[in-house]
Every structure is written in structure tokens, then in C-alpha cells.
């Protein structure tokens, strides 16, 4: 079993990326999720919770009772959200500090002996002591680390007690347990959580400790916000003055790297793998001190980090190495000395690059065909009266009285539409929303060209979903070919019936389409 622990806002965004990859079928069989974030109301966290719920709903709908979708891997990963009867269902967010608590309350400052208070004052300013911690540690890892070092006190409480039990059970089996922690090292929560958490996890199993593999995805700066915005007077007791400052990111990163180097040099290395990721041209994002307004867009580094997580889950981890990779510098006019990201630049040790590319393309193509053609088609009244006009529908559904046009069937398609329209494509769009053509994975023109007309993907570019854009080849004939591919899908392709069979049909048609149009191997 694999566990992903996301720390802070950056960690949460990577969790989103992992879920998108899992939806495309690249995830492990089972994945346990936990978020550590004192700022439970932050915008990224809310979006991640919604995405988790949507993923779970899609899996329940399209893979009822674990039913297979033929050979299709979509939504194959089973999520373990550490559910309990007494807690709200969904993604669990644990906070090392209670609601409305100031840092002084967390360390029990008012009740400390005078000498202890003096020691605390050596490390923290008065402003930091009165800082409210329920919107995160705001780039103050010292505060976060102090709070996180108390993790041991919560070991008998949920979710840690559940996690401990599960990990203990898993390490008693030969496959063991893999845990990956993701977070930034230049912010507050992530930077403060990684090491205390790894140390805590190491103490969990009493036996077979070597079967617990711990990995870390450490993010170095890949976004920034204007110094002025961060320093502007805030409304909440100087919250902005104490907020994260982009100009301190390099310093914080350097300190973090030195710290981990120190651990490595002194044989205090808790990690079986550590992935360092960042970007040399940080994206500018709107500054928000925390809360619902902190809803940063996805970035291609999120995708790379998510792939690092999956690579960690897929590998056998014989070395306790630090892993990093860099792309070639671009020589294109306008992007000189900048890095670009192409499929060949995605760093993999264990995953197969072709498989990753094909799975992502297949899923994107399935969604494009669903939103751009099949969903509106299934909404047409004619389908009930002339089912013979759609051979795939006639043979697989209508003649078996498995009508997809029932209210129940339409609700299931609406769910799939919502996943693609509300989450998957906006995520891809944000990833490609960089200066120039720095991200050369999908074709961003295909994702944006007809957005105003309500198309998430330009239907004339089904055969050109990958970079580069080839506007001259844009043709609606590609939709015709996709429709033909749907007709050619073998009836034995699987998927049971109803919504599952429908998704299988689209996915298999996408695989055929890719084999012909993109000349790639089937995933």
C-alpha cells in the first residue's frame, strides 16, 4: 500500500496532480491520502477536497464494486481516505494547531517558567508568538517545526492512530509500505513538516522497519509573488507583515538544503528517496496570506512532482539517493536560456515514458470526445427513436434495453463531464499557462481555441492534442474518425454495462485513434 502525505498549500496542489494522473490510470492500485495543513480553509485545499470527492464518485460510478473497465486503467486507483464513522467523509486534513490558536498557545507560552519563556524568545519574536496559526505558518518554518515536533503527542489520535495501525500491518507483509511526503521547502507548512513527519513515521513500525520506505518530494521555488503585495498592511493583526515573502524564498531554500545536507552528512537520513524539483523562471501568482483566497493555479512543476510520487511508488528503492533532473536549455527565439518541458524531459526511473504519455493522451482524448461530441449526442431526443443511427449504441445498449438516455444514465455522464470540465482540463490549461511555449506536452491551442464557445478541447484538433500546434491540420474529420473507431471497438472490450461500458467504449476508441493518428503504442 502506498501513502501520500501532502504538507501545506504546495503539497495540496501536488495531491491534485496525483489525482489527475490516477484518473488517467497511472496511479498505484491503492493510495492512502492525508493532508497536513493548519489552513484548512485555503482555496487549494478546498479544490483538492472537491477533486477527491469527484474522483471517488467517478470511481464508484464507472467501476462499481471494483468492476474492471476492460483493459482501461482509468480511475483504477482505490483511494483510502482514512475514513471513520465519527468524521466527515472525504479527504482528511490534519492540523498541528487548533482553530483560532496563536503560536503562543500552541507552545503553551503563558504557562511556561520564566527561563523557558526566555528560551522561547531566543527563537521567536513577539509578533510570531501572537501570530494566528490557523491560516498556516506563512513562510515561518521555525514556527511550523515547533508545532510539528509535537506530532508525537497526537499518535493515539485520529488520523495518526489509524495510519500507524495500517502501516504496522503493511510492514508485516513482504510488499511493505511506501509513504511519500510532498511539500515545499521554501514556505511554512511544507518546510516545517517534512523532517519531523519522516522521523515520526520511522517510529511507527515496531518490527520490519526496513519495509517502510519513505520518500520526499521537496519543492524549491517555482512561483513567486510581488514583494509589495506580501508586505502591504493587512487587516488581520499584521497578518500580511508576517506573511510569506517571495524575496525570502531563495534564502529559505538554501537553509533547507543545508539542513538536509547536514542530515545526510551525519547519517541522520530518514529518506529512501528524495526528489528536488523547481523552476528557474518562477511563475508570478497573486498574493494571499491564506484562507479561501489562496488558490494558486497548477504549474508544470506540480505535474513533475506528481510523476515523482508515482515513480517512487513504482520503484524498488535500493538506494537512498537524492534525485534531480533538468531539461535542456531552449534555443528558440524568445525563450533563449530558458528551460522548456517536453515529454522527453519528464524524469523517470521506473515509469515507462511512452506509457505515461499514452495514458495521459488517451484520457484527455476520451474527455475531449465525451464533452465535444458524445455527451451532446446522448442528450438528443432522436437517440431514443433512431438508435440504429449509432451502431455502437444500438448493439451495446439499445437492443439490450440498457438505455444511456435514462435520467440515471444522464446523471452519470454529467458526473464525467463535471470531472473533465470542472477539473481535468482547467488543470491542464493552468499547467500550460506559462510564458511562451515553455510547456510542450499537450497542445495549449487545442485546449484554448474554442473555450468561449463552451468547448474544453477544440473538436477539430483531436488529432493534434500534443504539442506542437498544427492549425493547418485542424479538421472536424478527426471527430468522424473517432466515431468510426467507437464503432470498431470489439464488443468484448468489457465494461459491464451502462456508464462503465460507455467509458470503456470511449477509452478503447481513443486507444485506436491514438494508434492510428499518433502512431503510438497502446497503453
Amino acid at each position: 500500500m502506498t501513502t501520500l502525505i501532502s504538507a501545506g498549500g504546495t503539497g495540496t496542489r501536488i495531491l491534485e496532480a496525483v489525482l489527475h494522473l490516477c484518473a488517467a490510470g497511472l496511479g498505484p492500485d491503492k493510495l492512502r491520502l492525508l493532508v497536513i495543513d493548519p489552513d484548512a480553509s485555503n482555496g487549494n485545499g478546498t479544490r483538492a477536497k472537491e477533486l477527491v470527492n469527484k474522483y471517488v464518485e467517478c470511481r464508484r460510478t464507472f467501476r462499481p464494486a471494483g468492476q474492471e473497465l476492460g483493459k482501461l486503467p482509468f480511475f483504477r486507483t482505490v483511494l483510502d481516505l482514512l475514513e471513520t464513522e465519527d468524521a466527515e467523509a472525504g479527504l482528511k486534513v490534519w492540523s498541528p494547531v487548533g482553530p483560532n490558536k496563536r503560536f503562543a498557545d500552541v507552545v503553551n507560552f503563558p504557562l511556561l517558567a520564566p527561563m523557558a519563556k526566555d528560551i522561547v524568545h531566543l527563537f521567536f519574536t513577539d509578533d510570531e508568538l501572537i501570530m494566528k496559526t490557523d491560516i498556516g505558518f506563512r513562510g515561518h518554518p521555525a514556527i511550523g517545526a515547533a508545532a510539528m515536533s509535537l506530532l508525537w503527542l497526537y499518535r493515539h489520535q485520529k488520523p495518526w492512530s489509524q495510519l500507524t495501525e495500517k502501516i504496522k500491518t503493511e510492514v508485516s507483509e513482504p510488499e511493505g509500505s511506501k509513504v511519500i511526503i510532498v511539500g515545499s521547502v521554501f514556505g511554512g507548512t511544507g518546510a516545517s513538516a517534512i523532517h519531523p513527519l519522516a522521523r515520526f513515521l520511522r517510529t511507527m513500525p515496531e518490527t520490519n522497519r526496513d519495509r517502510l520506505k519513505i520518500g520526499v518530494v521537496a519543492l524549491v521555488p517555482y512561483f513567486q509573488f510581488r514583494a509589495a503585495a506580501a508586505a502591504a498592511p493587512g487587516q488581520e493583526g499584521g497578518a500580511r507583515q508576517l506573511g510569506a515573502r517571495a524575496e525570502y524564498f531563495p534564502v529559505a531554500t538554501r537553509a533547507a538544503v543545508q539542513f538536509y545536507h547536514h542530515l545526510r552528512e551525519n547519517n541522520d537520513w530518514e529518506f529512501d528517496a528524495m526528489y528536488w524539483l523547481g523552476d528557474d523562471s518562477p511563475a508570478e501568482v497573486l498574493y494571499e496570506v491564506g484562507g479561501p483566497g489562496q488558490k494558486n493555479p497548477a504549474h508544470f512543476v506540480d505535474l513533475l512532482a506528481a510523476l515523482a510520487c508515482l515513480d517512487f511508488f513504482a520503484g524498488d528503492l535500493a538506494t537512498k539517493a537524492c534525485r534531480y533532473a533538468g531539461p535542456e536549455e531552449c534555443t528558440d527565439e524568445g525563450l533563449k536560456n530558458k528551460n522548456v518541458v517536453r515529454w522527453m524531459d519528464l524524469p523517470f526511473l521506473e515509469l515507462d515514458r511512452d506509457r505515461v504519455g499514452t495514458c495521459l493522451l488517451q484520457f484527455a482524448l476520451t474527455g475531449a470526445a465525451h464533452l465535444g461530441f458524445f455527451e451532446p449526442l446522448l442528450k438528443k431526443e432522436d437517440i431514443d427513436q433512431k438508435p440504429y443511427c449509432l451502431p455502437w449504441y444500438f448493439e451495446r445498449f439499445a437492443t439490450k434495453k440498457d438505455w444511456l438516455t435514462s435520467a440515471e444514465g444522464r446523471a452519470k455522464f454529467a458526473l464525467l463531464s463535471e470531472f473533465f470540465r470542472g477539473y481535468h482540463y482547467p488543470w491542464w490549461r493552468e499547467i500550460h499557462c506559462t510564458e511562451g511555449d515553455r510547456v510542450r506536452l499537450l497542445n495549449r491551442f487545442a485546449l484554448n481555441a474554442r473555450l468561449q464557445e463552451g468547448f474544453q478541447v477544440d473538436p477539430s484538433r483531436l488529432a493534434n492534442l500534443l504539442y506542437p500546434d498544427s492549425a493547418a491540420d485542424a479538421s472536424l474529420d478527426s471527430m468522424d474518425r473517432f466515431f468510426s473507431d467507437a464503432v470498431h471497438v470489439a464488443k468484448a472490450a468489457g465494461g459491464g454495462g451502462g456508464a462503465s461500458a460507455y467509458l470503456t467504449l470511449l477509452g478503447e476508441a481513443a486507444a485506436r485513434f491514438i494508434r492510428r493518428q499518433y502512431k503510438k503504442k497502446e497503453s
Binding site: 438528443k380 431514443d384 433512431k386 438508435p387 443511427c389 435514462s406 435520467a407 468510426s484
Partner: protein, 153 residues
Amino acid sequence: MNRIFFWMHDPPDGNILGEDWEQYLNSMAASYILVVLLAVLATVLIYRAAAARKKIHAPPDVFAPYTPIYWLCLSVPAGIVMAMICIWTYGEKFGDQAGGLTYTATTLALWTFLGCLLLGYLGILIPGITPPKFRYRPLWPFCRKRGLRTGGK
């Protein structure tokens, strides 16, 4: 060969000799086979090209009239051609005063039309002629009542 017109064994005009009539029917049968073969071949080939050209670009295209099948209407000109051949050769063979021309020409035209229509229809059902995406469109008369959704929304 004249068995193709088995119900026309007797001449329509008493003045036409049986032997002449039989010769005439033989020549008409040869023309009939030629016309039907050419018409069916043209129908199937043009239909195939039209069906291959017909694209589905948007959902309404799926339910749009299946226009390639209209090429079966080539049976009509085939019937007319047959009627013209009949009229032309009838006068030459039996003289302008001979009766029964209208009956013979109409019958041959109709028979040619039906032959072309039936064989043309069977021709478009040959695998590979109709694109799979339109597989059931020519079979509309046989499957239009299958798979219909009844009951509430």
C-alpha cells in the same frame, strides 16, 4: 435467356409471329442483363464513394438523412433506358403498326427498375461497401423498431 420475361411468353399482338417474338425477347433479355449490371455497378460504386465521403462532424450529423442511399434511384433511369431500347427495337422488329408496344415497354421498364433496385440494395449490403459507422442505415426497414426506448425519461 428469355425466361427472364417468363410471363411474356405470348406475343401481345396476334399479328406477331411466335418465333419473331421469341427472338425479340432474347435480344431484350440480353439488353436487360447489360442495363441491370451496369446500373447496379454504377449504383454500388457511386453509393460507396458517397457513403465514404459522408462525415459525422457534429451530433446532428448522426441523425441527418442518409443521402448515399438515394443513389438507388439510379434504378429509375435504368428502367427508362430499358424502355427506350424496347421502343426503338420494337418498331424495327415488328413495324410501326404492331400493337402491344406500350404494354411491353412499361413492363420491361418496371422489371428493370425492380431488378436494379433489388440487386443494388443487395449490393450495398456487401461487407465493405457501407462504412461501419452507417452499418444499420440501409437496414432501416428491418431495425427501425428495435431498441426503441419506451417509458419515462
